[in-house]
């Protein structure tokens, strides 16, 4: 069993007088020790809801979350147990997740005191050690968060999470508020920490390109569902789901070639009223009859690769949908912006 397991997790938000929104409609995911799992998807796909459910900040409407063999219960008023604290979270914005009025060192030492992990006399040394681990001078302990840049603050937030001696850290968009060079530094740091400390990381991001450099495995979410999971490199060389293919083709390349990224026609539908059949079919250039009526399950196509798409069958070769479309009898264009494929 993996360290962190999400099984068929559903998150539904009820709204007064209106139909409920199922932000997560049954997602299954697992994180092992020392493994970096990237969860990518666009705004509104439910990735942050899934992250909050994973750490118990939100009670799943259905399904369950398991951490170190025990079911994660939603956070109540009582302090978390020492076991539950081994599941930590780092938030997107280090400007609001750190307390501006307390010294960096005090904030990092909190977990040690609350969980009784380190005797009071040794805490200062441990704080220095953690700061050095995330690439900051030990003297940073005596300073305040505002004295640091975004990238440095995110390092402080990571050090604070590490203070609880976690086995898994869930990071919600930890890189997206940072500039390119800071982003690269923090991305490398995360990868290094996972290897060195054997911490499992669930890295949530909308940026597929950066996830590629950090994650061992990637899960792609669309409108509340995981549509594809694969080892990172194989996902890139041969995306199986048309949505994954579209995401990869939309990434601009800084090579000076003047290549314009491909745009995906249409809009993400309202999660309160998802399309029938496959949720991606109205925007999918390969959609055929079956996609309109039946929702494809997430099945393992080849070892380690799962996809929820009618184009693929168990045992198929790993080929992107553009090379597969011939299987469908009637390939329909999704309309809207032009679609070019080479």
């Amino acid at each position: 069993m993996s360290l962190l397991e999400l099984r068929e997790v559903e998150v539904e938000y009820r709204r007064a007088g209106r139909s409920p929104v199922r932000a997560v409609a049954g997602a299954t995911l697992s994180v092992d020790a020392g493994q970096v799992v990237g969860l990518v998807g666009e705004t509104g796909c439910g990735k942050s809801s899934l992250a909050r459910a994973a750490v118990g900040l939100l009670a799943p409407t259905a399904g369950s979350v398991w951490f170190e063999g025990r079911q994660v219960r939603p956070l109540g008023r009582r302090a978390r147990s020492r076991t539950d604290a081994r599941l930590q979270m780092v938030f997107q914005n280090p400007f609001s997740s750190l307390n501006p009025r307390r010294r960096v060192g005090d904030q990092i030492a909190d977990a040690m005191a609350i969980l009784n992990l380190v005797p009071a006399g040794n805490r200062r040394a441990r704080v220095s050690g953690l700061l050095e681990q995330v690439g900051l001078p030990a003297a940073a302990a005596m300073r305040f968060p505002h004295q640091y840049s975004g990238g440095q603050r995110q390092r402080i937030a990571i050090a604070r999470a590490l203070a609880a001696e976690p086995s898994v850290i869930v990071l919600d968009e930890p890189l997206s508020s940072l500039d390119a060079s800071a982003q690269a530094q923090v991305a490398n740091l995360l990868k290094g920490l996972a290897r060195e400390l054997q911490v499992g990381l669930l890295l949530i991001s909308h940026d597929l390109a950066i996830v590629r450099h950090v994650a061992d495995t990637v899960a792609v979410m669309y409108l509340g569902l995981v549509v594809e999971t694969a080892p990172t490199r194989r996902l890139w060389t041969a995306p199986l789901h048309p949505y994954t293919e579209a995401l990869i083709e939309a990434i601009p390349r800084a090579d000076g070639s003047g290549w314009l990224p491909e745009s995906l026609p249409g809009e993400v539908p309202d999660p309160a009223h998802p399309p029938a059949g496959c949720r991606f079919h109205p925007r999918c250039p390969y959609a055929f009859e079956r996609c309109r009526t039946d929702s494809p399950p997430l099945v393992e196509i080849v070892d380690g690769r799962h996809v929820a798409c009618w184009l693929h069958e168990r045992g198929d070769a790993e080929r992107p949908p553009s090379q597969f479309a011939r299987r469908t009898s009637a390939v329909v264009s999704a309309g809207g912006d032009q679609i070019h494929r080479v």
Partner: protein, 325 residues
């Protein structure tokens, strides 16, 4: 044909609690007709302030030096009233976050027709027709229906399209887009980039594109200036600058980017340290404390932006490309 906009020696000082701080420190550039001119740089490099200065949108007490010739007028010496005539009509601007740049309590129709009524004097019916045209141009589905709606009823990408429609309302010659796709998802970003590219091809619109994202630059900008700590450190045709960067900072920025075709498990090469704050910029070349190529003179002399051939300009006495060769 002369260029549409010619900026020379632009220097901006902004008032702060600790006195005037130099944010933009002498930059020059030209924007040609129908061209997308890119200004790249990290946050705090002065790229946004350098264009706000052109439009007279700086806070009170700001000091601006230099010249910005647009259509035989110097934007920096124009009075408030004349500048107001140009702003929105000749030069329009699109901001990063359409949720804050659009008015939340006003219908799309009112926001779209305000410009044409004010600048072009169109009456209600004509303005409405123009509004529908504009929404069609930026590919908003059901334009007539969209007029009565409010910004919150649209997705982020659609809002940015509406903000672009508002900017295009009076047929400007120059569109300044400040990080227009940064808040958007990649698939939506691709749509906006294709829209901007189409606009300049169809209507000969000139665009100043400000972004920290060199991938976005690569896909849309013809010409590129890279800024660091208030100065342009390298400029030239985008394809050249990105394929063969010559300034150590440009090269470092490119190396820090995740590249779609990079080999597996290549760590990102990051530039050590962080950009200096405008309050404490290093003497000499502002990049020298982070530069692996720095020589003694880098710490004392500010390198000028000099022609290095092929339309490229470089502010670096070392020129790493020559060192390696």
């Amino acid at each position: 044909m002369s260029s549409l906009l010619e900026v020379k020696g632009l220097r901006v000082r902004l008032p702060t609690t600790s006195g005037l701080v130099t944010v933009v420190d002498g930059i020059d550039y030209e924007v040609e007709r129908g061209q997308v001119f890119g200004i790249a740089g990290e946050s705090g490099s002065g790229k946004t302030i350098s264009v706000l200065a052109l439009l007279g949108l700086l806070p009170d007490g700001a000091e601006v030096e230099g010249s910005a010739r647009f259509e035989n007028q110097d934007l920096l010496t124009l009075g408030r009233r004349s500048l107001r005539e140009i702003r929105g009509r000749e030069i329009a601007m699109v901001f990063q976050d359409p949720l804050t740049s659009l008015h939340p309590m006003m219908t799309i129709e009112r926001q779209l027709t305000e410009h044409v009524r004010y600048h072009l004097g169109l009456d209600g019916t004509k303005a409405r027709v123009r509004a529908v045209e504009l929404l069609q141009q930026v590919r908003i589905p059901d334009p007539a229906g969209a007029l009565g709606a409010y910004p919150h009823q649209f997705s982020g990408g659609m809002r940015q399209r509406i903000a672009i429609a508002i900017a295009l309302a009076c047929g400007p010659r120059l569109l300044i887009a400040d990080e227009p796709t940064t808040a958007l998802d990649v698939t939506v970003q691709a749509g906006i980039l294709r829209l901007l590219d189409g606009l300049r091809r169809q209507s000969g619109l000139s665009v100043i594109m400000i972004t920290h994202d060199l991938g976005v630059m690569s896909s849309i900008a013809d010409w590129l200036s890279v800024m660091y700590a208030g100065r342009v450190i390298e400029s030239g045709p985008t394809a050249e600058v990105l394929a063969r960067p010559r300034h150590p900072y440009t090269a470092g920025l490119l190396a820090a980017l995740p590249h779609p075709e990079a080999a597996e498990d290549t760590p990102l090469v990051s530039i050590f340290g962080a950009p200096p704050s405008p309050y404490a910029r290093p003497a000499g070349c502002a990049f020298h404390p982070r530069c692996t190529f720095a020589i003694a003179s880098c710490a004392t002399d500010v390198p000028g932006l000099l022609d290095v051939g092929d339309g490229r300009r470089l502010a670096c006495p070392v020129d790493p490309l020559l060192v390696r060769a």
